[in-house]
């Protein structure tokens, strides 16, 4: 939530939203239409409009037309997006009736942070597109697709990988246990998928710059003759690092 979000009251937000809806239909909004839509009387409308114009969110002359300033448009768009996100979630995912969904969204839209809305949107897209629904991704991300762009070909690849995983687990009799460990614990020849980079500061950034990023595949190739730095293959090249640094890299063993 931005600072502006915080200082706006619920009714102010409703005013902005309504103005935006009206402006989208015709170039300008009139105080009368606003009063009609919000079901309030004309005098309280003109008071609120004075207030909004004082804050620089709308352009308004008494008895004239109302338009939104760029800042006002931005805020109103955000509110509308929240409203639509909530409504769509109710309709598409929860299967609620549209009118009821609209009403609930109207009341909820003011108290929900942007982060929650974003996750909700992610979840909606995920539920609608991913056939893997039900497999919780153990990354603290909730249900959402890791690939930014959805294409059916990618989905096909992903699902087949998922099936293979299940087969492997069944074959190993290891139904649900995740083998999360650190890179320094892997033996030469073993592979892992990077889960997390612990550690701090410049060295962590350096390791990330070298391509050691969450989700990439890494294979331990060998250990140096004197036993310390290890040689791993990542993104098709050889990277060497000491075991102390490798101990800060969490990986999930890949069989």
């Amino acid at each position: 939530m931005t600072d502006v979000d915080r200082v706006l009251s619920e009714s102010t937000e409703n005013y902005l939203e309504t103005i935006l809806l009206l402006v989208q239909k015709s170039p300008v909004a009139r105080a009368r239409d606003i009063a009609l839509r919000l079901k309030v009387n004309r005098s309280s409308v003109s008071g609120a409009l004075h207030d909004l114009s004082g804050r620089g969110l709308i352009n308004y002359e008494p008895y004239g037309f109302v338009t939104l300033t760029p800042e006002g448009t931005e805020i109103a768009t955000r509110i509308l997006r929240r409203h639509e996100a909530l409504r769509d979630f109710f309709v598409n995912v929860l299967g609620i009736d549209r009118a009821e969904a609209d009403e609930a969204a109207c009341r909820m839209e003011h108290g929900v942070s942007k982060a929650i809305i974003d996750r909700l949107l992610d979840l909606s897209t995920f539920m609608e597109t991913c056939p893997k629904v039900g497999e919780k991704q153990a990354r603290g991300d909730g249900y959402r697709c890791r690939e930014a762009a959805h294409s059916l070909e990618k989905c096909e690849l992903c699902v087949s990988r998922c099936l293979e995983n299940v087969k492997n687990r069944v074959g190993k009799g290891d139904s649900n246990k995740m083998s999360v460990t650190v890179l320094s614990e892997l033996k030469p020849g073993e592979k892992g998928r990077i889960e997390k980079l612990a550690g701090a500061g410049a060295i962590r950034r350096r390791i990330a710059d070298m391509g050691v990023i969450k989700g990439s595949l890494v294979e331990v190739i060998r250990v140096a003759p004197m036993g310390d730095p290890i040689d791993v293959k990542i993104r098709g090249y050889h990277l060497t690092l000491r075991k102390t640094e490798a101990a800060d890299i969490c990986v999930q063993k890949v069989v």
């Binding site: 930014a148 762009a149 410049a202 990023i213 060998r222 140096a224 993104r235 098709g236 060497t240 000491r242």
Partner: protein, 693 residues
Amino acid sequence: MSPAKERFTMALAGNPNSGKTTLFNCLTGARQHVGNYAGVTVEKKEGTCIFGEVEIKVVDLPGTYSLTAYSVEELVARNFIIEEKPDVVVAVIDASNLERNLYLALQVMELGVPVVLAFNMSDLARERGVEFNLELLSSLLGAPIVPTVGSKNTGMRELLAAALDTARAGRTARAPDIRYGQDIEQSLARIGACLDASSHKSADQRARRWTAIKLLENDAQVAARVEAPEIHQVVAAERARIETVLGDTAEMIVADRRYGFISGACQEAVRSTVESRHTMSDRIDDIVIHRVWGLPIFLGLMYLMFWLTFSAGAPFVDWLEGLFGWLRGAVSGLWPAGSESILKSLLVDGILGGAGGVMVFLPNIMLLFLAIAILEDSGYMARAAFMMDRLMHMIGLHGKSFIPMLTGLGCSVPAIMATRTLENQRDRLTTMLVIPLVSCGARLPIYALIIPAFFPEAWRAPMLWIVYVIGIVLAIVCAKLLRSTLFKGASVPFVMELPPYRMPTVKGMLIHMWERAGLYLKKAGTIILGISIVLWALTSFPRMQTSGPHASPEERRAAELSHTVAGRVGHAIEPFIKPLGFDWRIGTAMIGALAAKEVFVAQMGIVYSVGADGAKSETLREKLRANYSPLVGFCVMLFMLISAPCMATIAVTKRESNSWKWALFQLFGLTVMAYLLTMLVFQAGSMLGIGVR
């Protein structure tokens, strides 16, 4: 017809080992020079290349993996692009290692300069079964792509043509704007708005975006340029927000998104047809850095390097010695026999005897540099660092310190300059201070003079090896000592690439070797020649006016030399160096060696050509054998190995550490240590009767 030529500046940026230098050599040929970036000591290579009517200045930026503010190289590369505004930047990309190489290229593009991508070693990538859809990739990345093969000199015309087109267009038509995702973009917009409201307003949208990204990434250097406190407040708030929303620091998310963008582009435009898990390079590594065979092979290679330097160089040295002998004879022939002419003495004894005595070791030096060039260019040096890191870590240093130390075998000056690759100042200073203990090429002439004089054929190579090992062991001990006293602190992490092995190109090696041999020759031609003349003067003046009642000419000459300045100084310090087994002649030569180690040889030559009968053409070695025991010979080598490095080393230490304190510490610390250790060895040796004839 002399049309006003167009001039362009073109910078080469790329990862280490992307073949950038090979490409640079291809483009500029012999028209290049090496210098330093102003203020910092990172190597700067510049050259020119003519393409049609256009003169292009090519600048080789230091090889980096990223453009953060964490290392000097990265700062230099990025500041060059921002401040010097080259007309076009060629991002050199190792096509067989696309993703990590593109990561840097993407950051270069973000700086808002016109960029051309050179897909270098594209032949190698094709051999490995990688297929590129260059057209698609080019449109995804928003920059023209030219496939090149530096080692075969192909694709250069196309590269230059594309670079010129891009430079003329001013900006890449549609450079990509990587979208960092909603949360980051929102932060960038807020920081950007804040920048616009302040005095950092910039007309260029891309520059503004870049500054905002860097601020969000917590880049110390960019942050320092922004004064307004309110911007810092906004940045801090946004960083905190990103961390709560996305669960990691902004710089990590940014790195993640960049790699994400690259992976996406590569997935669409690159196809690997052959699943090659085990490349040639991997197979070599299976043997060369094997857990058991790795170290013996490493030690064997080092031994081979010294054998090559010493034994294989011997015939050339003999030939050069013959040449200088002939020259001296020819020059003295211009004067009547028995002439006492000062000019003749200056030419024959001073110049030819002094500088010539150093020049004859040029074959040794060149072979050593050749061996180092092969190790470096083939990719073995990184393996050496990998294998030696455990050892280096034990003494509190970084495996990368091993490379400057190994370079120290050639010359301490470039070695100390090579410590720039170390990011930690404590590591850097420690490495710098102990590097002179690693026996440099300039000390080789001393060993080359002394070892054959005192030791039988079979003992010569092992003896040389022993001297080098002593130096390395001492360097380790001193580093450990320094690291646990003066430079206490946690050691630096070791994150390094093992580049694929490559066949070194003859051209590359020759350029490499010539750069360094050239430095040696320049030293011989200037400093050493000057010192030789000064020392000749010191050993000739003041002249004795009356010839006293001496029985033989030898005695008369000895008395004459005692009378000179050098003789007097040598005599004066004789009581101090007596416990080391040295006489005043060696003392005199050691003073000369302060200027440059190899002057010791020149000086001994002069001292003896004066002190003995010049008519008999005995070689210097025979004279040494007649005058000293093998133990003294060994002590001379030991003292010269440890004692004060040459003036050039002291000067470069001063420059690199930016303080006279460390330079003087190095000078006196090493000399005191040399004195004590040599005394110990000589006294013990004399008592036990080892090597006393």
